[in-house]
Symmetry: C2
Subunit: 94 residues, 2 copies
C-alpha cells in the first residue's frame, strides 16, 4: 500500500477520490500522462487494495476503500492525505 501511494499520480487519484467521497470513472481523471499509464496506476491501486473498481453500465467506476484501509491501518490514510495537502500547499499547488 505504501508503494501504491508513493507515486505522485496515484496519490493525486486517491486525493480526488477522497475529496469527492464517491466513485469516479477513470475518464474523470485528467492526468498529465498517457492513457496506458493511467490504466497502470489504477491497476496498482486496485491490486494493493487502495481502491475497488466496478463496472456500472459501460463505465468502470473507482472507489476508495477507505473503511477497509482505516480498519487495516488506523489513521494512515488520513495522515497521508493531510501530508499530501500540506505538500501541495507548500509547492504552491492545489
Amino acid at each position: 500500500m505504501l508503494h501504491a501511494l508513493s507515486d505522485p499520480m496515484r496519490l493525486q487519484i486517491v486525493r480526488e477520490l477522497a475529496a469527492v467521497g464517491d466513485e469516479l470513472s477513470c475518464s474523470h481523471f485528467d492526468l498529465p500522462v498517457t492513457k496506458s499509464t493511467t490504466t497502470h496506476h489504477f491497476r496498482v491501486l486496485r491490486e494493493s487494495g487502495v481502491i475497488q473498481q466496478v463496472y456500472r453500465g459501460t463505465a468502470k467506476m473507482n472507489g476508495l476503500r477507505k473503511d477497509d484501509l482505516d480498519g487495516l491501518f488506523p489513521g494512515l490514510l488520513d495522515a497521508l492525505l493531510d501530508a499530501a495537502t500540506r505538500q501541495a500547499a507548500r509547492l504552491g499547488g492545489a
Copy 2:
C-alpha cells in the same frame, strides 16, 4: 518522503531508529542486502529528510528526524510506523 518509506528495507531502518529513539550507526543494521545497497537506502532516507547522518568519531550515526517530520506532516510518521507494525504482525514477523 513517501517514496523513501515505500521500500521495505528503508521502512525497517526507520522502525528500528524509532524503536531505539536514539542514533544508530550504519553497521548496527543487519539487513539482508549488500553493503552498497544498504548505503543507498541510507542516502535515500537522508536526502528525503527522514534521517540525518552525522559523523561521531569514526562512526557515521543515523538519527530519525522525528520532530521535523512531525512538524511537516503531523501524524504521518506515527501512522506509518503503526501500519508497519500491524503489517509485520499480520505476516507473522517481528
